[in-house]
Symmetry: C4
């Protein structure tokens, strides 16, 4: 087994562990939705429709965690080494991701309530913003001076990715700030950010493409 093989296996195990945390956090979202209680002349359909904030929270958080997973995947494609600090930053980042089911349940509980909506949306978008900050710190730690990045990666590509990641983080922080002005606009921005992911990117550096270095598209 070559040193390079061991290194691949190394970030490989960090990715596998992170993937497992993503998968569990995303799947745990459903247990926050309890079966409604209907009796006598009550309509079960109405009770189910009344739970729409729970479905909404489920869908939005599923999309957010799903795209963060794909993004994590993409960043680690370029990271070829790991060290203690990176491992620690990744654990703190995962701590934020695994926390998401809690503000999601909070959002579902209070989104209809005028008095509490701002708080619920601020906690929700704030959690996402903090997650984005640690995600960016993790990336910067790895990317600055090619600390954990393969030397063969094009510096222009690296700079483009860093710019995009910092810009994404700023938008998440903006969504958090927006929560205090308009909770609806704040959530709309979060949804747009998740949906934007579906768009192809010109330089081929983002998303779970066939290869991170191949900028041609078929």
């Amino acid at each position: 087994m070559t040193t390079s093989g061991v290194q691949d296996g190394d970030t490989g195990r960090i990715e596998a562990f992170s993937d497992a945390v993503f998968a569990i956090a995303i799947t745990l979202l459903i247990i926050e939705i309890g079966v409604p209680h209907a009796e006598g002349a009550e309509s079960l359909s109405d009770k189910l429709l009344h739970l729409w904030p729970s479905y909404f929270g489920y869908a939005i958080s599923f999309l957010v965690i799903g795209t963060v997973w794909a993004n994590h995947h993409n960043r680690f494609r370029l990271i070829s080494r790991s060290d203690h600090v990176m491992l620690f930053l990744n654990i703190v980042f995962l701590m934020c991701v695994a926390f998401i089911p809690f503000p999601t349940a909070l959002l579902a509980e209070y989104i209809r309530d005028e008095a509490y909506r701002t708080t619920a949306v601020a906690v929700y978008t704030g959690t996402l913003a903090v997650t984005a900050v640690f995600f960016t710190v993790l990336w910067l730690y790895a990317a600055v001076d090619y600390r954990l990045i393969d030397r063969t990666v094009d510096p222009l590509l690296l700079r483009a990715m860093t710019r995009r990641y910092v810009f994404g983080m700023v938008l998440y922080i903006l969504a958090f700030a927006l929560a205090f002005v308009s909770p609806a606009a704040s959530l709309a921005l979060i949804i747009i950010l998740a949906l934007l992911f579906v768009l192809p990117e010109p330089d081929g550096s983002s998303g779970a493409r066939g290869t991170g270095r191949n900028s041609a598209r078929g």
Copy 2:
């Protein structure tokens, strides 16, 4: 590392993430079943037997998710590339799969209640039908014009698989429609669809066989 190696690893990580979501969703089903409370002269056995709708829901959803997993496995054996749209479609598909524990608990709660049975069965089979629709969309996106499929795959095999997947989707939608006529018949169809999976298929293209391209059976 060759481009081909990266591509394999790529759909490989999507499969691993999907598998984890399947495994968690299937195992979470049990936490919807609470231990019954018995006291004094009450019979614990009776209380346990009274929970049969929960065991039934557990078994049927376990079978459904299990066969969907095997099917997902089979489809991805032919998919050799990924892109943003496919990744997005797969996340939406997993969102449906991870949602299944909720309608399962709903089914267990209301299957005995004449007034609510139709609603519960419709929500349950409706969730499965929506899941089947996204599963088919995901497949069609990958298969049309060999967008994400290896060029070496036999076009006849590809067409046969597409036909079967679309037909399976139609049966799930039929089960949903049946719920409004006869909830029992609707559930029976779902069970038959899951059990059919155990049958060998003549052209060897379906199920977790040794190889997707080897149509001979020992």
Copy 3:
């Protein structure tokens, strides 16, 4: 990619999925234990000690699922192919494994209650017995006539494994029968069965050894 490579990957993905279900079922055991409520002059230590049946159930089920995992691992080392029926039997087997947290919670709830103890222990050991039956059926399906086993496996080894697995199944069924005579003896047998696993086996065919074909021990 050779046919053999695909086949390895194939049972490999079944094993990975099964491992994930084992890991989740084993870890979910803890959420059945609720934090006790203490107030005023009550002793929290007493309240915690009073939960001993929960710790006992946790420990015994953890050991049982852990050894079943290792055993599953061992059996699949010899299984080199898969087909629809085996996949189906494995899903049914996993359905039993993932069910274990429910009878574990039942056992913890009623082990102290004379009137309900027999029922709780019978349901618990009965679940394990049914699990053992499906585990044996899965093995027999794969092993008879080398249906899914590599032809290079020594027939004597295969026969010895089959004998041991059938014998283990009989002991689990015996533990279930014992529940109606003496719940304590029944549970004692389950614990002994789990602890027996730690003993080395003379022919080297069981347990997560370095290789399933190397019968020498260092």
Copy 4:
């Protein structure tokens, strides 16, 4: 497939299973935190701030399990073989890790309550101390006389690792003892132990580095 390949795969599957248990235990921590109920003139922010012990417990346990995971990873890099006893010790060790969400919830519930704080902190740190003991026993079983360690590993490195692991265990036991004198000091020590992990280690033998045998740092 060579014997060596099989052996790698072997401890590989133990590591994968352990990683899954770590990932699930760490992610389950969040479901112990319930959404607070606010009504009328109550402040949702106050209610959320009032939950600080839950966030604190979540963060500390996430860090502890995360660093234990990285440490497990590091130890298994040197372990090249497995046997029944090691497998059994690893299951008992995982039983401790998967138990952590329970004392974490206990800690969150009672840390503010003068009368119960000592008990809660003692149970929490006691669980971590028992986990550390089994972790050390597992290591000693593997390391003594190179029982499961590759002969090529430098004996000085092995001895240095053993010393460090035993020392870490002693500090966890000390944290447990401290709980009866000063719960705050006890928890502070646990946090320090987790944060210490971020520091680089001079001989390169600890942490998820590129290779366990390469003592040079870039």
